[in-house]
Amino acid sequence: MAAMTERISSVLARVPRGVYMALAVVLAAGFPLLNVIGVVETAWLRVGVMSLLFVMLALGLNIVMGETGLLNLGYIAFFAFGAYTTALLSSPKFELRWPFLAVVVVSTLIAMLAGFVIGLPTLRLRGDYLAIVTLAFGEIVRLTIINLQGFTNGPNGITGIYSPLLAGGSEVKTGLAAWLTVDKPIEYYYLVLVAVVVVSILLANLKNSRVGRAWNALREDELAAISSGITASRAKMLSVVLSAGIAGFAGSLYAYYSNVISPESFLFMQSVIVVCMVVLGGMGSIPGVVVGAIVLQALPQVIRQAAGAARSDFEVYRMLIFGVLIVVMVIFRPEGLLPDKLWRRESHEVDPRELEKTRQSLFDLEEGEKDLEV
């Protein structure tokens, strides 16, 4: 049995990574077709869109948490920056309707700016302190959104966000322009899917670049990394700003998709859920994070549908399971479900068998030397 599994896994390991990725993209792209032919309800498409948005968030958090090893507990604040920027630039609130691309770019830039501003004074703090500062930052952002009622409508949130127009113009026209308006779930699904694929390709390339190696080096041993010539502050800042930008991007798409945003969506718990996705999937591993996000966002919905549980009760059990999951994962499998190679090596104690082997060979060497002496 064991030999069999080993054989299967060795065969699986020989399949090139690109095949898996292509398979995942094809599966994701094919999912809405099930809706088109009427196998699944449109509600599942909405679950799909939210899952993809969380995939993006988890990918963004993975940059700071997985690659650079900095825990950010206020990550949802950048999401909020993106979402609120979009809502203000494209809703009846200020009578604005900027073109889609401009809104997305500005939202991303604003979130990056927020990341820069918060990173500037805090990045020199040690890991756990940084986590708490980012938590405080997240809460300040949320409370400020609630309190700045003239600007954000406070707890009521901003409603009636316009649908994105992919081609310029401010009015919904007929013909091509109407066709290019994104307003059905399936259209949002593909819009977000394209964004996720682009972001993940970007991140996968970044991971294997000079910058990515610098991040990993900082995570493994900051002192050693600095000694080998990495400018820690610059590399860390880059990772924070980039991850904030991705969250802002996701937030912008989320605001468009949901039409309504309110501070309720940016609670501390949301940040924790994203952290949970990264931990479950495997810190630093892009496929792992994608799987983690999909599992944690989609699976509860599937279970809810199946169990038909009452809403309030369901939330409690969902969070309970998330909490238990975090604890169990960090204790028993800190490298996550689909681990990154480096993390696996780091997060487990040395395998005793491995150690025995090393000792054996050292012993052999000693024996050999003795023989020579004699």
Binding site: P121, L125, Y129, V316, L320
Partner: protein, 406 residues
């Protein structure tokens, strides 16, 4: 701005601060021993409050009971509020933290966040999602009037009980065998083990004591405010953590000082005029300038070998800290750096801008002297304090306990 108002606000701030202090002690003790932020500590506090309230509700206390029976019930509730959190603190450490000892910093923190979520949901499952309300007792709302100022008896009880507990804790840590073990474990766990100290037992004891204090805090809060929500622990926990950091984490008197400062800041912040509070900023600015210009250069110069201490050298060091805009820019232009003294032009300029910032803040506050900050902003105050303290002085008011051991 009457004096009565200021005094009653001060007592309110002190009361809140004392409660923060009770919770902060748990954070700071655990941090002192394990260098680890026990994120789930706030939930232990909530459980203390819930258990106490449900005990009193279960016993059916009311004002018709004889005082003796009533006192007995309160003592029972207090006992429950101590014992249950103690057990929970012990279990948490055993299950979620011990297996992770020696891992990199963020791993145990993640586990603590998981535990915190689990406990919050368990509170909902066991006690229901509605906030727990205390039976209303005459004792709870009793008050008396001194010099025209109304003071709640319970506020004084909280201040007295907390002070007594803190003194007790200081005695425990400073003068008992287990306290010695705690200090040794905190200094160097390996060495402590070699000296025959059971560090596992010591750490478990630290958690148990911290949880007991948090439980008492929960009991006092539920008595004082009359109700408690299942997620109250998050905010209280963070505020207590802020207090611990503010005072210098790992430092027991520091936690108390930090908690009182935070409680005062929060209460003053939303109940006094900006004009009054501006004087605190001015005082802070003057104190800061004194420290920067007199104390720091003097202390740093002490470490310099005598042959290097020429008057010109001393002047150059003192000048760096003489943070008038003129000297700030001069140092910036000269890019003068001394690694040994860790004095750099950038540092001097940072300090200079810090001082300017404080001065501007004070000026703005004086300009709007009669304005009060809306109560809605109260929760933000603690978070802002936390961010500011971590950015500018992560070692806190007292002590440098966070320097890393190499």
């Amino acid at each position: 701005m009457s004096l009565d108002h200021i005094v009653s606000v001060t007592i309110g701030g002190l009361t809140v601060g004392m409660i923060y202090a009770l919770i902060a002690l748990g954070y700071t003790m655990v941090y002192g021993v394990l260098k680890f932020i026990n994120f789930a500590h706030g939930e232990v506090f909530t459980i203390g409050g819930y258990v106490a309230a449900f005990t009193l509700l279960g016993l059916g206390v009311n004002d018709d009971m004889s005082p003796l029976v009533l006192a007995g019930c309160v003592v029972l509730a207090l006992l429950a509020a101590v014992l249950v959190p103690m057990a929970i603190g012990f279990l948490i450490e055993r299950i979620a933290y011990r297996p992770l000892r020696g891992r990199s910093r963020i791993i145990p923190l993640l586990s603590a966040i998981g535990v915190s979520i689990v406990m919050q949901q368990l509170i909902i499952l066991v006690f229901g999602p509605a906030p727990v309300s205390m039976p209303s007792l005459a004792v709870g709302s009793a008050s008396f009037v001194v010099f025209g100022i109304r003071i709640r008896v319970l506020a004084l009880v909280i201040i007295a009980v907390s002070s007594a507990l803190m003194l007790g804790l200081t005695y425990l840590v400073k003068s008992t065998r287990i306290g010695k073990a705690m200090r040794a474990t905190s200094q160097d766990m390996e060495a402590a083990e070699m000296m025959g100290i059971d560090t596992n037992k010591t750490i478990a004891f630290t958690f148990v004591v911290g949880s007991a204090l948090a439980g008492i805090g929960g009991f006092l809060v539920v008595m004082y405010y009359g109700s408690l929500k299942y997620d109250a622990g998050f905010l209280y926990g963070l505020k207590a953590f802020t207090s611990a950091v503010l005072g210098g984490i790992g430092n027991i008197p520091g936690a108390v000082v930090g908690a009182i400062v935070l409680g005062m800041t929060e209460t003053y912040g939303v109940s006094l005029d900006l004009g009054f509070m501006a004087w605190f900023v001015v005082a802070g600015l003057i104190l800061g300038l004194y420290v920067q210009m007199v104390r720091v250069p003097r202390r740093r110069l002490q470490h310099i070998a005598d042959d290097r201490r020429t008057p010109a050298y001393e002047k150059s060091i003192t000048d760096v800290y003489r943070l008038t805009p003129y000297y700030g820019f001069k140092t910036l232009l000269a890019e003068r750096t001394d690694a040994l003294l860790s004095v750099s032009a950038a540092h001097a300029v940072r300090l200079m801008f810090g001082n300017l910032f404080l001065a501007v803040v004070a000026a703005v506050m004086f300009a709007n002297a009669s304005v009060r900050i809306d109560t809605r902003w109260q929760p933000v105050i603690a978070f802002v304090v936390l961010m500011v303290i971590l950015m500018f002085r992560p070692s806190g008011i007292l002590g440098e306990a966070i320097t890393e051991k190499v």
